[in-house]
Symmetry: C2
Subunit: 347 residues, 2 copies
DNA sequence: TTGTAAGCGTTATCAG
DNA sequence: CTGATAACGCTTACAA
C-alpha cells in the first residue's frame, strides 16, 4: 500500500537498564519501599506508594527477575523434557504444560532430547545448576533412568506419557491405554467380529502392552497377535506377509497406533481387500490424518493436551508449596472415535 | 518380572546446596581460584587446579547459573514465541530452534500465545526483565506489532515464518512461498492443464499471497481464483458451491494448504468427481497426512525445521558477539512432492 | 510507616 | 600464581 519505502526511522538509543535503586532515588524513597510497593508484602503509605508507582510507570521499570530469583532461591521456570517435540503427541502435551505453567506464573524450558542421553544429561544439569524449579519428563521408553531416579526424592518431577521402571513413587500422568484397548475390543466384538489380528507395538513399552491387554480383555473371539513397531512400513510388511500366506484368518485388525493402521490399510488394499467391507481396521492416537482420509480411520483419542496440563498443574501445586510431590498416578480417560474403517464383518 | 514389589529404597537426604565458597574452603583456596579453575580464564597452578577439581567432583558442585547470569548480564536463554506449538509446522520449527540453541549453549523458553495479545505481552516482558538474551518470533499474522517494533533496534530478534509489516529491518527467515507456487504452476502446466482453480488462502498473509502470485506466474492457462482460509471446511464449502453451479470450469485445483486440499478432495468426491482422473489437486505444507492418504496428496514441502534452525543459528551468532543483528532475509527453498492426486487432464 | 544493611552465589578488578 | 573486595539487583531481617 505504501507507494515507496518509508525512510528508516532512527531508533531511540537503547533504554538504559534501570535498577530498583534508580527508581527509589527518583521517587525519594529507599529501595526497600519500592520493593514493598511492588510486592505488597508490607503496608506502604498510600501517597508514597502512588508516587513510587508513578515513577515506575514513567521510567518503565521492570524488576530483574534474575536478581529476584537469586534471593528467592527459585526461578519460576520448569523444564519440559521430551524425546521429540515435532511429534504431534508431544507437541500437544507441550501445549498443555505451557498452558498450566503460564496460568500459574511459570515459564517452560523446552528440552528436546532426540533420545540422546548426553543431551538428556545436559538438561538434567539445569536442575543441579538450580536454574529450574521442577521437571516434567516424557521418557519415551521405560528404561531405568539412574540420573533421574537419584533426583526423585529431592526434586519435583512429574513423569508423563510413559511410565519408567522403578520410578513408581513419582507423580505420574498417563493415558488409560488399557481402557483404550478395551474400547476397541468391545467395539469390534459388538459389530460381530470374532477373529481379530492384533498388531501389537513394542512390548517393552507399557503403553503398548496395556493396549493389547485391554483389547484381549474385551474382545471375546480369537486373537492372532503379531508384534511390530509403531512405524507404517513395519505394519505394512507384517500384514503383507500374513496375506501372502493365504486368505486372512481375521476380519478385523487392531493396530498398535494410527501410523501402523495406515500401513495395514495399504497392505490390505495392495492385496485386493477392501476396508471396511472385507476387513475392519482400528488405530490408536487419533492423529489428524485419521480424520482426513477416506474412509476415516476409527481410532482411540489420547488426551495428550490433558496429560501435559494435568501433570503441570499437579506438579506446580507442590512446587508452589515448597514440597516434593508424593507418589500419585493420574490416569486420563481416552475415547473411541468411530469412523469409516470399521463395520460389521461380511457374512 | 520382579516377583514382588521392591522395598522402598530410603532416599538420601536432599544434597545440601553447595556454593563456590564451600568448594574453596574444602580445597583450601579462595573462591576466586575455584572460579578460575572452572572457567579457565586465567592460569592456575596445575597442582592446585587438580585439587580443586577433585573436590568439585567429590561433592558434585555445579555453579549456580543464576548468580553467574547476574554478573555476566546475560542468561543464555532465548525465547521462542509461536501462536500454537501443537501445530506441526511450529513444532518442527521449534525443533530446529532447539537444535541450534542447544549446539550453541543456549536454552529455549517456549512461549505459546494462542494469538492472545495479553499472553504475547507477558512473554515480551521476559525481555524487559532481562531474563532472555534474544527472541525468535513467529507472528502468525502480518499485523504490525508496536511492542515488538519498539525493541527492534535494541534487542536481538528474529522473525520467522511470516513477515511483519513495518519490520523489514529485522533478521528474517521464511520459506520461499512464491517459488512453491511456481513449482505447482509449472507442474500442472507441464501435465497439460489449462484451466485451474486457485483456492487462495487469507490474502492478508504474505505467505498466502506469494503462493498465489507464484502460481499465476508459472501457470499459463486460465485461472479462477476463489478466496478461502486454511480450514478444511471452508475449502469444502467453497468447492461444493462451485460444483453445484454446474460442471467444473477447471481440471486442476491448487489449494491454499494441505488441509484445504483435503476439503477440496472431499467436495469433489461428494459431487461424484474422481481425483486425479477428473480433477488434479495440489496442496501446500506436506503435512504427514499427505503421504498417508490414498492416493497421496501432491504438495509443497515447507522447510519448517530449517527455518527454525537457520533463524536461531543466525541470531545467536550476533547475540554471542553482543550485537544487534542487521536487516537480513533468509529465504529457504521449498520442494514439490509429487504424489497421486495430480495427473494429466482427461481429454 | 520507612530505612539500613546483610546476603543470595557468582565474576571482575585490583593488589600482592 | 593467588586472594580480598566490590559489584550484579533484588529481598528481608532488624531497627527506628
Amino acid at each position: 500500500m505504501t507507494p515507496e519505502k518509508r525512510f528508516k526511522v532512527p531508533r531511540r538509543p537503547p533504554a538504559p537498564k534501570l535498577s530498583i535503586s534508580d527508581v527509589a532515588r527518583e521517587a525519594g524513597v529507599s529501595p526497600t519501599t519500592v520493593s514493598h510497593v511492588l510486592s505488597g508484602k508490607r503496608p506502604v503509605n498510600e501517597v508514597t506508594a502512588a508516587r513510587v508507582r508513578k515513577v515506575v510507570d514513567r521510567v518503565g521499570y521492570v524488576p530483574a527477575s534474575l536478581a529476584r530469583s537469586l534471593t528467592r532461591g527459585s526461578t519460576s521456570v520448569i523444564g519440559l523434557l521430551v524425546p521429540d517435540i515435532s511429534n504431534t503427541f508431544f507437541a500437544q502435551l507441550a501445549k498443555g504444560v505451557e498452558d498450566s505453567a503460564h496460568d500459574l506464573g511459570y515459564s517452560v524450558i523446552l528440552c528436546n532430547t532426540e533420545f540422546d542421553s548426553d543431551r538428556e544429561d545436559h538438561y538434567l544439569n539445569l536442575i543441579r545448576s538450580r536454574f529450574i524449579d521442577a521437571m516434567i519428563y516424557a521418557a519415551g521408553s521405560p528404561a531405568p533412568k539412574p540420573r533421574l531416579d537419584a533426583l526423585l526424592g529431592h526434586f519435583p518431577i512429574a513423569l508423563v506419557d510413559e511410565q519408567v521402571d522403578g520410578m513408581e513413587s513419582a507423580l505420574t500422568a498417563v493415558a488409560d491405554h488399557r481402557a483404550g484397548g478395551r474400547l476397541v475390543g468391545k467395539h469390534l466384538r459388538d459389530l460381530g467380529h470374532t477373529k481379530a489380528l492384533l498388531l501389537s507395538g513394542p512390548q517393552n513399552l507399557r503403553s503398548a502392552s496395556e493396549r493389547s491387554a485391554g483389547f484381549r480383555e474385551a474382545f471375546s473371539g480369537h486373537v492372532t497377535e503379531v508384534a511390530a513397531d509403531f512405524r507404517e512400513e513395519a505394519a505394512h510388511t507384517a500384514v503383507a506377509g500374513l496375506l501372502g500366506a493365504g486368505p486372512p484368518q481375521f476380519t478385523c485388525v487392531f493396530a498398535a497406533n494410527d501410523l501402523a493402521a495406515f500401513g495395514v490399510i495399504a497392505a490390505l488394499r495392495d492385496a485386493g481387500y477392501a476396508v471396511p467391507q472385507d476387513v475392519s481396521v482400528v488405530g490408536f492416537d487419533d492423529i489428524r490424518a485419521a480424520s482426513l482420509v477416506h474412509p476415516g480411520l476409527t481410532s482411540v483419542r489420547q488426551p495428550a493436551y490433558d496429560i501435559g496440563r494435568t501433570a503441570a498443574a499437579q506438579l506446580l501445586e507442590y512446587v508452589a508449596a515448597g514440597e516434593i510431590p508424593p507418589a500419585s498416578k493420574h490416569i486420563l480417560p481416552v475415547s473411541l472415535v468411530v469412523r469409516g474403517t470399521t463395520d460389521k464383518p461380511r457374512l
